[in-house]
Symmetry: C2
Subunit: 189 residues, 2 copies
DNA sequence: CCGGTGTGGAACATCGATGTTCCACTATCG
DNA sequence: CGATAGTGGAACATCGATGTTCCACACCGG
């Protein structure tokens, strides 16, 4: 057990931890003020178990933030921002982010109250800004729109699209399609 | 005093009530989980006084929602949605909404947790949808984008723009300008 | 079978927010 | 000047969430 402790990603403990984190994502996106009891119930575990993995509430939210940003980073990598034109990369990024679903919403919502350092804690913020700059130069992105503003538009559109999908106003595919078309029209020169 | 009781909009009580509501908007947009003590301090009144005007927290949030939507309704009226093309009306609506500032953010944020009936509680929701439909017909708004989706894009862009302005990334005027240009490009056929 | 591991639940202490009561202070108006 | 309205603050009770402790149960590998 000693050797496996560090890398026990498939053990019982790791599975329980994942279950708690997943449930927390779902519950907290629906109600950011949900209690630990709610999260425990949603995860199908006892409240005691939650405290066993995350002694304090802050430990859970920290782990959530960390996991959320990791997902964002992975999605950014999958989007292969350095390939093709700037607009094409932005398109892929939008698709990848959309697939994150609730996780994206959580990162989006939880960043605001903590402070205004939202984007500084995103390790891939610079990659995205660089992508937009490249788009400015290759003529695929309107140069009158600044990098940060386009980044914020991307997130805002994703938020709106996900809400549409979540409330059943539109199907998941329709929401993504609308989002991509809107983004495409905004960034076009 | 008997006669004035109902219409005492300028009296001491009315001013205190306004001060509490205004402070609540500011404080709750910054931190939705702020305590009544925080709001009282921001309003420059005692916590007792807050309870005197709003016996329970729910009474305060209800009054806030009501006031917020009233502001939205007034802004909608000022935008004169029935004049000019659909796109022009949408432009004016965006400007008016932007001026609402924190109030808009509060309505935007507080609607989500309460339930998914966000738009149904907006008395002017139908006016906006009608405006977009008119834009579809007069050729000023892309008919492939549905009414609800454009409405959501409007709010999402306003949210992003206001954040930019609030965090000092862009000036108030720059943020509004960026927002209007983005909106214009999105809705253009 | 038995010992360790992971878990659930009950019980308890604590803490912050909330809501209530009461009293003193101040300003304004008749 | 005196009455009244409006306010602030202290004190208190309450409630829900949180965090902790302890014990019993189930499962699984040696």
């Amino acid at each position: 057990m000693d050797v496996r402790t560090a890398a026990a990603d498939t053990g019982t403990k790791a599975r329980t931890r994942r279950a708690i984190l997943d449930a927390a994502v779902t519950v907290l996106t629906a109600d950011p003020a949900a209690s630990l009891a709610d999260i425990a119930a949603a995860a199908g575990v006892g409240r005691t178990t939650v405290h066993r993995y995350f002694p304090e509430r802050a430990d859970l939210t920290t782990a959530l933030q960390q996991m959320g940003w990791e997902h964002v980073v992975q999605a950014t990598r999958r989007a292969r921002l350095t390939e093709g034109t700037g607009a094409e990369g932005l398109d892929r990024l939008c698709q990848e982010y959309f697939e994150l679903g609730n996780v994206l919403m959580l990162v989006f919502n939880y960043s605001a109250p903590d402070g205004d350092v939202t984007w500084e804690c995103d390790p891939d913020n610079q990659s995205v800004l660089d992508l937009i700059t490249r788009g400015h130069h290759d003529g695929s992105i309107d140069p009158t729109l600044t990098g940060p503003w386009i980044r914020d538009i991307l997130w805002a559109l994703l938020y709106a699209a996900w809400q549409q999908s979540r409330t059943g106003v539109a199907s998941r595919h329709q929401a993504l399609d609308s989002c991509l078309r809107a983004l495409h029209k905004v960034v076009a020169p």
